[in-house]
């Protein structure tokens, strides 16, 4: 997200926070989130795709709510009014097409109004079908999650996204010679997918609280957290949403502090470090081990300040809107071991994976008829979790290697800690501090070396930089 968009969002959030609204808080938040999902979507080389993708995000959110509606009860009057607001806003944004100097809510000229109304009609058919046909039990939750993951795979696997782009270019009668796997950039879908899967799984387990359509859609596309999280849980989110909200001086001060910190971290520190951070070009240009370490350290801190900065901005904006969003970072580079690093880096992501993958997998492996040894269960669970987290970032060999690097590191730490715990407790306090300091140093460098896979486009570049770091080339 650009600085301009961030600043505009801040101003909007501040105006919203200062307005004495109570009854219309939810519909206004809904309207703002719908506007934001269109405004934040970058322009795409496929004609109208930057209009259809946000529309599809909203349709999927509505369909998911219809899917998770307990006992398929009748829609309330407020839910129908929410549908009217959503449809109305999409139509208004579509009418942007007919303005000579179009309003800055869509990345490019929207499709014509006939196409938009047809799409709304088709979306309604999809939502009604989901509402009438699907059930809580059996195969339906699996199908729903499978479809979400299928979209995710299409967006992340270059070959698939290339062919989707090619197909879309043909559909819109555009020149297909410039097709690229990067054409289909669906803003926020990764985070939307996490929220959707969380609600579907919780619905399946009977844990999902009953929410109105407006509450659900606002949760799924909440604009401060759309592009970079944090990944909130719906039961926590709606507590804040349902509270009457009036912006206090404490909220203003705390929001201001987080926003100032976030803007400084992201747009000053991270963007400055990006000038010398390790990348696919300078990895091959660097000549000495010393400079290779500087590039690596620059990337290590750039990625932290970039991500942490966005989180601070999201939390600050959320505070202006009356939401105390969960924290995502807690000094991860100062943790003495890899387990604690991952408990303090992108915390909402690790909590999500722990809840919806790691714990269920561990339980399943331990309850097999043939009992697997506990260390093997831990190895499988940790490495596969980290590989999946790597693949979530991108589906290529380097992200798999990054996932394996951390998965194996976690397993080694798990076994080491099991073995040394009784011995560590017998050490005097000064020695414990020394070992802790050594742990921080080692953990930081282990994570930093792992970024050699994350930051570079292919294994050969990563291998080259690793050799360069230790003076072998």
């Amino acid at each position: 997200m650009t600085l301009i968009l961030v600043l505009i969002s801040l101003v909007v959030a501040l105006i919203f926070g200062l307005m004495p609204i109570t009854r219309t808080r939810l519909p206004v938040l809904l309207g703002l989130s719908i506007l934001a999902i269109f405004a934040f979507q970058p322009a795409l080389p496929v004609r109208y795709l930057d209009f259809w993708l946000p529309t599809t995000s909203i349709t999927i959110a509505v369909a998911s709510w219809a899917f998770t509606l307990e006992s398929k009860k009748n829609w309330a009057r407020d839910d129908w009014l929410t549908v009217a607001i959503i449809v109305g806003m999409i139509l208004v944004l579509g009418l942007n097409r007919y303005l000579q100097n179009s309003l800055p809510f869509t990345a490019s000229r929207p499709p014509n109004i006939l196409q938009i109304t047809s799409a709304i009609f088709l979306s309604s058919i999809v939502v009604i079908t989901v509402y009438l046909v699907t059930k809580k039990n059996g195969k339906w939750p699996i199908i729903a999650i499978g479809l979400i993951l299928l979209i995710f795979l299409i967006l992340k696997i270059p070959v698939l996204s290339y062919w989707v782009s090619f197909f879309l270019h043909k559909l819109t009668d555009q020149y297909s010679g410039a097709v690229s796997a990067d054409d289909v950039r669906w803003l926020g879908f990764s985070y939307i997918a996490f929220r959707l899967i969380h609600t579907i799984r919780d619905y399946q387990a009977g844990r999902l609280p009953q929410v109105t359509l407006a509450e659900y859609v606002v949760y799924i596309i909440f604009f401060p957290t759309l592009t970079a999280g944090p990944i909130d849980r719906i039961e926590r989110f709606i507590l804040d949403l349902r509270q009457p909200f009036r912006l206090s001086s404490d909220d203003l001060v705390e929001a201001g502090r987080r926003l100032a910190l976030g803007l400084f971290k992201k747009f000053v520190v991270a963007d400055a470090l990006a000038l010398i951070a390790l990348n696919g070009i300078n990895a091959w240009q660097v000549r000495t081990a010393g400079w290779a370490w500087i590039l690596l350290y620059a990337y290590t801190f750039q990625i932290f300040f970039d991500f942490c900065g966005y989180t601070d901005i999201a939390i600050g904006m959320g505070r202006l809107l009356g939401f105390k969003l969960p924290e995502n970072f807690n000094q991860p580079y100062l943790k003495p071991n890899l387990t604690q690093f991952w408990n303090n880096w992108h915390m909402t992501l690790t909590q999500w994976f722990r809840a919806y993958y790691f714990n269920p997998l561990t339980r399943a492996l331990r309850s097999w008829n043939r009992a697997l040894p506990v260390p093997l269960v831990i190895l499988i669970a940790q490495t596969t979790t980290m590989v999946l987290i790597g693949l979530w970032h991108g589906i290529n060999g380097n992200f798999i290697l990054w996932g394996l690097w951390h998965g194996l590191g976690l397993f080694i730490h798990n076994r080491w800690s099991e073995w040394t715990r009784p011995h560590f407790a017998k050490l005097s306090f000064p020695w414990q501090r020394v070992i802790q300091g050594g742990g921080i140093f080692l953990t930081f460098h282990y994570v930093a070396l792992g970024w050699a896979f994350f930051s570079l486009p292919n294994p050969s570049s990563s291998w080259h930089i690793l050799l360069k770091l230790f003076g072998f080339v």
Partner: protein, 128 residues
């Protein structure tokens, strides 16, 4: 929740009124958007404003601006005629390019753009 419906209706009405205030033909606007995308080196935008036959030429033209800093000066486009399925658009003003401190002006009026209506959009499909 009745008020939000009213707001949306008012917004729809206002947008409708704004659409009636359009002072320039869409064909001329498309050429202006094309030239804006060209100097901004925005290939993403450029490919959505051109027909599939003209896109390779447009991308070549965009590549020719990669090494320079370019901007538009006093650009204004208007329709000058219709020929078969083509609407002819001519622009006034200049593209100002800068390289290593040296400026060059490219007169926009020497070109006539051919705009075609295809797939519900006006697209640039050639120039003379």
């Amino acid at each position: 929740m009745k008020n939000p419906i009213l707001y949306v209706i008012i917004l729809l009405f206002m947008i409708s009124m704004l659409t009636a205030c359009s002072q320039k033909d869409r064909q001329a606007l498309v050429v202006e958007e094309y030239l804006t995308a060209l100097v901004a080196k925005d290939s993403t935008r450029l490919t959505t404003l051109t027909c599939s036959d003209w896109t390779p030429s447009a991308l070549n033209e965009l590549n020719s601006f990669q090494a320079v800093t370019a901007s538009l000066q006093d650009m204004s486009c208007r329709i000058t005629g219709v020929e078969d399925e083509w609407t002819l658009v001519v622009c006034s003003g200049d593209i100002v390019t800068s390289y290593n401190g040296e400026n060059q002006e490219i007169d926009l009026s020497v070109r006539t753009y051919q705009v075609v209506f295809e797939g519900g959009e006006f697209l640039i499909c050639g120039c003379r």
